[in-house]
Amino acid sequence: MTDNESTPSTPVGPHRPISELETVVVRFAGDSGDGMQLTGTEFTKSVAHEGSDLATFPDFPGEIRAPAGTLAGVSAYQIHFSSQKVFTPGDQPDVLVAMNPAALRINLPDLPSSGILILNTGTFTRPNIEKAGYTSNPIEDGSLSKYQVYAIDISKQTSLALEGMGLTAKEVGRCKNFYALGLMFWLYTHPTEREEKSIRAKFQKNPKIAEANIASFRAGYNYGETTEIFPSRYFVPPAPIVPGTYRHITGNEATAIGLVTAAQLASLPLFYGSYPITPASDILHTLCMYRHYNVITFQAEDEIAAITAAIGASYAGAIGTTGTSGPGLALKGEAIGLAVMTELPLVIVNVQRGGPSTGLPTKTEQADLLQSMFGRNSECPVAVVAPATPGDCFWMAIEAVRIAIRYMCPVIYLSDGYLANGAEPWKLPEVASLSKIPVTFRTDPQGFYPYLRDPETLARPWVIPGAPGLEHRIGGLEKENITGNVSYDPLNHEQMVRIRAEKIAHIVHEIPEAQVYGDPSGDLLIVGWGSTYGAITHAVKLLRQQGHRVSSMHLRYLNPMPANVSQVLASFRRVLVPEMNLGQLLMMLRAQFLVDAVGLCKVQGRPFKVSEIMARAEDLLGAHERAAFATHAEVAS
């Protein structure tokens, strides 16, 4: 890192020591209207510039705006930063900033005793306190005694700081969050210039507001500087981060950009047919910004039209993709069958959320794996891949497109709410390093048959309307192999059923082996997929530091699974499969490999804590025998 960035450039208050910390978890919490998400992301950017490694977790309320001050309206943003590698947003905050009573009420349970608690006393009015469901003012009734409480009237301080700037009360209220941000900058010794530039940039359309926010930001910073209430400041040294250009990215952004990149690498138009649904909608919102990349977004009348239009697009020579969440995937089942039967490339993005039915639309879950495998009539195999981190969404989106085109098959891409909205610093790839995705449209009528197969991949040729002399007809009825004519022949049907299955199985030859984190053999293997990657890896790291013979294997390819899975499973005494469902990958592993793996199931609409995985792992390492399907998480029910 450059020097001027590595130390804070504002003078450090005389009497305050600066203690160095390895890791800090800060949570900003307030009313939806308080702009906590902005506060969090601004702080995150600064942390990134300071060179710490980090992970963040935004946690905003359901779709509809709840009345101000209510519990339903609380919005929070957590950031975990460290001089070591960071895998998760952190199990619990070291510092909680609560901008109103409701935010305190909801987030306090996560704060460990003696944790730092910063409160905006200005909002602790009787009505707000009652809205939060408190009977008495927690600041006064001693219920906060076990924390390091810093009670500051941020509302008042802000308005004082902005006096004479000619702002309405409402506008002043909107600046509170920058006061809190300034305070955090001071506490963690971050330089202020960069942030002030950033604020000016963000509010360039409205300089008055920009200046007000900057004034509020400074006031917060100076409050820490001048008042004596904080005993010390902190400094988190830079982490050993791979050099390169970085960008903060959410899973949904990475998925969208990955799809565009893949289409560019294949020199094809990208067609994204979608019907809005939480938490997948942002992929649509992002993609529709890229019309100039030959991206066509089609907001369909429903999920079925979205996928069938995508199938039509692939038939016509675009890379057809469609995106949704669980309930939408259920609706697409029949149409996925059509893509399987017509053997056309198709990518189905499914951002999993809490269910069943409408369930918990804004919460995360991993329970659509078996739906992805089997949620259609008859034997209807598709490839299934799942990114492990927000940044990995970019890479797996490209993989999904590559596989769909090479094998002429649908690929289901399983993200989830946690990946979709979670963000991480993402190291941008060298464009030159990205390999093209080869596409050949069959145009030669000589010896052409619609279901003639590539001996290597078993894929049929991709012929698109407009190619003279190749006119032909496809559809959802069983096809005669090679000719593609409708066929009711019994033996042909069995052959086709098996070819469709083999085609997917063949993909195994062109995907990387599963990486094992830790030693290649040992007492316990923790197998994961999707967004549990961070928590599992961190748990394994800590367990190994404790001397346990534990490793982990994270599957980014679920159908087919990498070739070495069976051998890796066989190299460990026990196998643990943590999932945000009731044991879906677990079932696949047991059926396919007859391995007596056990599950750790958490279905709470929120990600695993590192501690939960460690606890279960320690049990197993304690080597008590347990029934195959017994599971337990933070809560036993």
């Binding site: 250009t245 019309r291 069958g337 003279p468």
Partner: protein, 343 residues
């Protein structure tokens, strides 16, 4: 939008035979679908579009087997979804001539929503709905166009559903082209097919079709040669609404804006003049509601107005946006937003 080999089939030279595929036709002997297929195969060469530029998309049903029998590109999709599949095709390759073949069940029952949304968007495709007022392929259940009280396999006591009027549904959904023809009137059918082919935008055509196995004679009362004259109103743009074997009847409008049948002897003044191009749909909708016995049922083109099509707008948007948005390479795509460098 797609790279294309150049057409080796010169459109001009094409004949009906060129549009007959090698598949043997699998409809019941006597089915009205044969006549429609023949009509289409005859009309196709007149379109002057090379075969490889034509795509027929269908759902599921007897009618939906159509694409197998016509020697162009064809997609026999799933039940009710043909308009959506066709939308994806048309958006991706706007220069294709896209046709949807559907039935009264495929198009109006399970597929009703896609049908009306396609017409709303005015995607440039021709939709032919073979209306036999029955589910043929599944052997004879009521369809959304079956008459109230009709006895079928699924309604032995008589159907309790009021039928849709396909033309009214189309006009209600803001279709830009709405027409009707009859399987057994091949000159008229070919005329209407040609008009549909010429229309830019969604062209919706209802075709009265006889299912001689499960709903034989369903259109006899209006379409039979000997009654046609009095039961059908043959629409011609710019001509007064005259009908009758002796052309001795016409349709006039009462002051309260309701239609009435009047006897005429030669003098057609005062009759409504058919105008398929007018923007306000009240008149076209009124036509769609004319039903026998009180009124003759209209055939021909009810409405044909030119409005921007969905595919035109998308292409146009691309044309205008691309220059405005500067470089569109991967470098720009990835290295955008707030980035920082770690040395």
């Amino acid at each position: 939008m797609m790279p294309q080999g150049d057409s080796n089939a010169c459109a001009a030279k094409l004949t009906r035979k060129d549009f007959i595929s090698d598949q043997d036709v699998r409809w019941c002997p006597g089915c009205g679908d044969y006549a429609i297929l023949a009509g289409m195969q005859r009309m196709m060469p007149e379109m002057g579009v090379p075969r490889e530029k034509v795509v027929f998309v269908s759902g599921i049903g007897c009618s939906s087997r159509f694409p197998y029998y016509i020697n162009t590109y064809g997609f026999h999709s799933i039940h009710g979804r043909a308009p959506a599949v066709a939308t994806g095709i048309k958006i991706t390759q706007p220069d294709l001539s896209v046709w949807v073949i559907t039935g009264d069940g495929d198009g109006l029952s399970i597929g009703g929503n896609h049908l009306i949304h396609t017409m709303r968007r005015n995607v440039d495709m021709k939709i032919l709905l073979f209306n036999n007022r029955i589910y043929g392929l599944t052997k004879g259940q009521t369809s959304p166009t079956s008459e109230l009280g009709m006895k079928t396999k699924s309604t032995p006591l008589g159907s309790l559903d009021r039928p849709f009027n396909p033309l009214s549904v189309a006009i209600g959904a803001s279709a830009t082209f709405v027409a009707r023809s009859i399987d057994i009137d091949s000159p008229h059918l070919q005329y209407v097919l040609r008009r549909a082919a010429e229309h830019k935008g969604t062209a919706f055509v209802e075709i009265y079709q006889n299912c001689n196995v499960f709903n034989d004679g369903t259109w006899e009362s209006v379409a039979d040669k000997d009654v046609r004259g009095d039961r059908l109103l043959v629409l011609e743009h710019g001509k007064p609404l005259v009908f009758g074997k002796e052309r001795n009847k016409g349709i006039r409008m009462r002051p309260d804006m309701s239609p009435e049948v009047v006897e005429i002897d030669g003098d057609t003044s005062g009759l409504l003049i058919h105008d398929e191009r007018r923007q306000d749909e009240g008149y076209h909708f009124m036509l769609s509601r004319l039903t026998s016995p009180q009124f003759p049922q209209p055939i021909g083109v009810l409405r044909a107005v030119r409005e921007p099509t969905y595919d035109e707008l998308i292409t146009e948007q691309g044309r205008t946006i691309i220059p405005r948005s500067g470089k569109a390479d991967l470098e720009t795509l990835l290295y955008s937003g707030e980035t920082w460098v770690v040395q």
